[in-house]
């Protein structure tokens, strides 16, 4: 991924540090650690803190595609990991504050599945999909794709980290879902590739990270939450719950998104990504709820709360992103970062 523009002292320092060698960066790393320690204590809301979210996003990116000019050794550099832990601990604490779990169901597959369907069926605020279907302008469709592109161009990757940490029924279910996400052996059918095709059909750049500078903090937070869950084995229940919630809130919204692009005259090149998800996720949500999440809880009932937390956390942070976007659109503003023009 190309280097994004910094959004403050901390993200600037992270980007500068990883452009150098570990030996040359001891003093800047120490400074970074002190800066982050005070910033996580002082931030008004880490979920909307551009500097901290971008800093964390860049550190996670070292585990995915890497960052141009950054040496691969930084991925496991202990001093940089210490900094990352400070930010992700603050993020996790903030999200745990945001999420309220109801009474826990029985630790059986069917009860977990039912509870996840109940949670994902609740009205969680404004509906972006209905707005996109009926009212979004062409410019708003592009903005919508910018927000989604941060995840969808690497769709499925954050959850895939958990596969070796699962076993049996839960693992088989996760792999069954992810194999579909990755195109069942056909690169052009990968969901990330279908999404790239949608972007191209609107004349947008489908390079991973091309619009990172335009994505507000909350959009980065949506992505950072998935990486936090995916990269920490202790949160394996949460990442499984998170994926289940995503699958369970996908079919109907994607049908509406597709309608929005058709309304503006776009054809199959643009809509296939959404149409594919209507059918795929009607399958995935059943496998995810019953076999993947329910199967995990049955094999280890101690993970019940984590699974539900992961689902609730994903829904809560996604709702905050939707609120951000819809508030901007309803008041006639762009939902993207102000300095960015939407070149097409």
């Amino acid at each position: 991924m190309k280097q994004p523009s910094p959004r403050g002292d901390i993200s600037a320092l992270v980007l500068a540090v990883i452009s150098g060698t570990a030996e040359s960066q001891q003093e800047p790393l120490a400074r970074l650690d002190r800066l982050v320690e005070s910033a996580v204590a002082a931030t008004a809301d880490i979920l909307h803190d551009d500097d901290l979210q971008l800093a964390l996003f860049c550190q996670y990116e070292l585990h995915y595609s890497g960052i141009d000019e950054a040496g691969d050794d930084w991925e496991w550099n202990p001093d940089l990991l210490r900094v990352r832990h400070r930010i992700e601990a603050a993020l996790e604490a903030r999200v745990r504050d945001e999420v309220v779990l109801g009474s826990l169901p029985e630790a059986t597959s069917e009860a977990v599945c039912q509870e996840l369907f109940r949670m994902t069926g609740e009205d969680s605020g404004p509906s972006m999909s209905r707005f996109v279907a009926k009212s979004a302008t062409e410019e708003q469709l592009r903005e919508f794709l910018v927000h989604k592109s941060i995840y969808q161009l690497k769709e499925a990757d954050p959850h895939t980290w958990v596969i070796p940490r699962l076993a049996g029924r839960s693992k088989a279910a996760m792999v069954e879902i992810q194999a579909d996400e990755y195109g069942n052996g056909l690169p052009a059918r990968m969901h990330s590739a279908l999404f790239a095709r949608t972007m191209r059909s609107l004349g947008m750049d489908d390079t991973y990270g091309a619009y990172l500078d335009a994505a507000p903090a909350i959009t980065l937070a949506v992505n950072n939450l998935m990486s936090l869950f995916g990269l920490n084995r202790r949160l394996r229940g949460a990442v499984v719950g998170h994926l289940a919630a995503y699958e369970m809130t996908s079919s109907q919204p994607n049908r509406l998104y597709s309608r929005g692009f058709k309304r503006h005259g776009y054809g199959e090149d643009a809509t296939e990504y959404f149409d594919e998800h209507v059918e795929a996720d009607a399958v995935h949500e059943q496998i995810a709820g019953r076999d993947m999440a329910g199967g995990l809880v049955e094999s280890d009932p101690r993970l019940l709360q984590d699974v539900l937390f992961g689902a609730a956390a994903g829904l809560a942070v996604d709702t905050l992103m939707t609120v951000h976007i819809m508030e901007a659109w309803e008041s006639g503003r762009s939902s993207l970062r102000p300095s960015e023009s939407m070149a097409s």
Binding site: E110, Q114, F117, G121, E176, D180, N184, R189, S250, S251, Q252, R255, V278, E279, A280, D281, A282, V283, E285, Q286, I287, R290
Partner: protein, 102 residues
């Protein structure tokens, strides 16, 4: 190896018939990859308040015996009647409050 053949009428679940048929080498070629699993018998999960989830080796055909378009090994078949992708499920059962349990 027995491969289950599912016949789904285009109108949906009312026309769904499950039938075991011997099929040594009888699979039509185009969907061969989807019909050539590890010999796992087809299993049908009646998902509570949801679709029928079908895994394993099976063929999905229309009333004329022709294979229906299918892009995935495991499919969910509509049983609430509201899907616009019949015979496949599109999640509509949640919107109409479909109940399979009394």
């Amino acid at each position: 190896m027995g491969v289950g053949t599912l016949v789904a009428a285009s109108l949906g679940i009312d026309g769904l018939v499950s039938d075991e048929s011997p099929s040594d080498g009888a699979d039509p070629a185009p969907m061969r990859s989807l019909n050539s699993g590890e010999g796992a018998p087809a299993s049908v999960v009646a998902c509570p308040n949801g679709p029928l989830l079908i895994r394993g080796d099976f063929e999905l055909v229309g009333p004329d015996g022709e294979e229906l378009p299918r892009t995935r090994r495991t499919v969910a078949l509509c049983r609430c009647g509201a899907s616009v992708l019949k015979p496949y499920c599109d999640g509509s059962h949640k919107l109409i409050g479909f109940r399979s349990e009394p």
